[in-house]
C-alpha cells in the first residue's frame, strides 16, 4: 500500500430521479421504497462547499442503498 487509504469513499452511480428529486432507478434497479432522506451542508464558508442530499432507498430486489445527489456538481454517488 502506498499510504493510508480512505474508507467509504463515494462511488459514481447511475440514478434516475423523479420530479421531486427522489431516486426512481438506481443502477437500473427500480426503487421500491424511500426509507429516509437528509440534507448535509458543510464547508459553506470555503470556496469548495459541500451540499449533499442523501437518500436511503430499498430496491425491488431487496437491496438497501444509500445514494446522494451532489447539489453543487449535480452528480449522483453511492456511499456505504
Amino acid at each position: 500500500m502506498s499510504g493510508p487509504r480512505r474508507l467509504s469513499v463515494p462511488r459514481r452511480v447511475a440514478v434516475t430521479a423523479g420530479d421531486d428529486g427522489s431516486p426512481l432507478l438506481v443502477d437500473s434497479r427500480t426503487v421500491d421504497a424511500v426509507r429516509e432522506s437528509w440534507l448535509v451542508e458543510d464547508r459553506w464558508w470555503t470556496e469548495r462547499p459541500l451540499r449533499r442530499r442523501y437518500w436511503e432507498v430499498v430496491t425491488t430486489c431487496g437491496r438497501d442503498e444509500v445514494v446522494f445527489h451532489d447539489l453543487v456538481s449535480g452528480r449522483w454517488w453511492r456511499q456505504r
Binding site: M1, R6, L7, S8, V9, P10, V40, D42
Partner: protein
C-alpha cells in the same frame, strides 16, 4: 569483466542413482516412475527409452504406449539428494562456489580458481588456462563427467550437453563468441530453464528451430508474442545470461536409525524423537538452533526413498517443539520405512532467547500476533494486515471518518 563459467553435467544422474548397482538395467528402456501422489509423468529416461521417443516429463500412459516393455524404477529422492550433496561438497573442496541447478547439473565461475589450479600464463588461451581447473574438478568428482566452459551460464550448459566425457567443450571469448557458438544449436535447449519450458514448442511451431534464428528476431517482436519469457530467451540466445548465485557453504549433519521391522505409526514417532535427541546432542551443532531440516526414509521392499524438507516457523533447539512440527509429516510417507533419517539443512542463530518461567499471556498473544502479521505480509504482500484508524468519527461525511493504515503489531 573476464568471466569463465564451468558447467558440470552428469547425464541421467537421478536415474543412475535410483538404479543403484543394476547397471545392466540402464542399457534397456527404463524410466523413473512418477513420485507417489505426484503428477503421473515419467522422470529421467535411459538412452534406449529415448530411442522410442520417450522423454522426461512425458505422461506415463503415453510412455507405456510407446514402449510396452518400458521398465519403471521407483525414484530415490533421498539417495539423489545425498549423492548430489556429496558431489557438491567435493567440488567446493577445490574452492568452487557452486550454483546447483538440479541434481546432475551445476555451474561455477572458474575465474577465481585460475590462479589456484589454472595452467599456462596470462598470455595463454582460455582453453589452456582453464584446463587445470577442469582437471582438479575431475579429480575431485572421481566419476565420468561432462564439462562445458563458456562466458555465460546458458552457453556453458549448452556446451556441456555437446561435450564428451574426456573432451570438454570450451567456448573462448565473450558474448559474441558465445552467441556464435549457440547459433546452430536447437531451441529445445531452452527447456533447461523452468521459466522457458513451454517456449521451444511454440517457437518450433512458428518455424524457429535454432537459437541463431531466435537471436535474429527483434526483442520487441518476441516481447509482443511471449512477454518476459521471450526477452529472456532472446538474451540467452545472444550469449547473455544472469550472474551466478552460488549457494552459501553449508555443513552436513545427519542422524539415521535403522528400524528392525518395517516401521509406521507410533513406532516411527518414537524413532523420530530419538533422532531429534541425537541430532541436538551432536557437538558440531555448537549450540546453534535449527532453521530447516530434511526428514527422509528408505522404504521397504525396494520401494525407493521418501524425502520431505521442513522449514520451522522459527529457528528451534527445543526437542518437544521439533517433534510437534515433524511428527505430522510422517503421515505423508507412502509406505512403511526400514530406515529413518534426519539431516540439518540450515542452522539458525545460537540459542539465546530464553523463555520466561511464567509467561505473560498478554505479551505472548502480542508476540504471536506480530509473528502472524509478519508471515501474512511475507506471503501476501504489505497489504495483508491493515487496521481501521478513526480520523474523525463524528464527521457527517462517511469518507472522513476512518482510514486504512498498515497494522503495527
Amino acid at each position: 569483466m573476464f568471466v569463465v563459467i564451468v558447467c558440470v553435467l552428469l547425464p541421467r544422474f537421478q536415474l543412475t542413482v535410483a538404479a543403484g548397482n543394476r547397471n545392466e538395467l540402464l542399457q534397456t528402456p527404463v524410466a523413473l516412475a512418477p513420485e507417489p501422489g505426484g503428477v503421473q509423468q515419467v522422470g529421467e529416461v535411459s538412452i534406449a527409452a529415448e530411442a522410442f521417443g520417450i522423454h522426461p516429463g512425458m505422461r506415463l500412459g503415453e510412455a507405456l504406449a510407446r514402449c510396452a516393455w518400458l521398465t519403471l524404477v521407483p525414484p530415490d529422492p533421498a539417495g539423489v539428494a545425498e549423492s548430489w550433496e556429496r558431489l557438491l561438497v567435493r567440488l567446493e573442496s577445490i574452492g568452487a562456489a557452486v550454483e546447483p541447478e538440479r541434481p546432475g547439473l551445476v555451474c561455477f565461475d572458474a575465474c577465481g580458481l585460475l590462479r589456484l589450479h589454472g595452467t599456462g600464463t596470462l598470455a595463454s588461451s582460455d582453453a589452456d588456462r582453464v584446463a587445470g581447473v577442469l582437471a582438479a574438478a575431475r579429480q575431485a568428482l572421481r566419476m565420468p563427467t561432462r564439462f562445458g566452459v563458456a562466458p555465460s551460464r546458458f552457453a556453458a550448459v549448452a556446451a556441456a550437453t555437446k561435450a564428451r566425457v574426456r573432451r570438454p567443450l570450451i567456448v573462448s571469448g565473450g558474448r559474441t563468441q558465445a552467441a556464435e557458438f549457440l547459433k546452430a544449436l536447437p531451441v529445445a535447449l531452452l527447456r533447461a530453464r523452468p521459466a522457458l519450458a513451454e517456449l521451444p514448442e511454440a517457437l518450433e511451431r512458428l518455424g524457429i528451430g535454432t537459437l541463431g534464428e531466435l537471436a535474429a528476431l527483434t526483442p520487441a517482436a518476441l516481447a509482443d508474442r511471449f512477454g518476459t519469457a521471450g526477452l529472456i530467451a532472446h538474451e540467452l540466445a545472444n550469449g547473455g545470461d544472469g550472474a551466478l548465485r552460488p549457494r552459501p557453504a553449508s555443513e552436513f549433519l545427519r542422524e539415521s536409525l535403522e528400524l528392525p521391522d518395517a516401521g509406521s505409526g507410533i513406532q516411527l514417532e518414537r524413532g523420530l524423537g530419538l533422532l531429534i535427541d541425537r541430532l541436538l546432542a551432536r557437538r558440531e551443532r555448537r549450540g546453534r538452533t535449527l532453521r530447516a531440516v530434511v526428514l527422509s526414509a528408505v522404504l521397504v521392499e525396494q520401494g525407493g526413498t521418501w524425502r520431505e524438507q521442513v522449514v520451522f516457523r522459527e529457528a528451534l533447539a527445543d526437542p518437544v517443539r521439533m517433534r510437534l512440527a515433524l511428527a505430522p509429516r510422517l503421515a505423508l510417507m507412502p509406505a512403511p520405512a526400514e530406515e529413518l533419517r534426519l539431516a540439518v539443512e540450515r542452522f539458525g542463530p545460537p540459542t539465546s532467547d530464553q523463555r520466561a518461567l511464567l509467561e505473560d499471556p498478554a505479551e505472548a498473544r502480542v508476540a504471536r500476533l506480530r509473528e502472524a502479521i509478519r508471515q501474512a505480509r511475507a506471503a501476501a504482500g504489505p497489504d495483508a494486515a491493515l487496521r481501521v484508524l478513526e480520523v474523525d468519527p463524528c464527521s457527517r461525511f462517511p469518507e472522513r471518518r476512518a482510514m486504512l493504515t498498515p497494522f503495527e503489531g
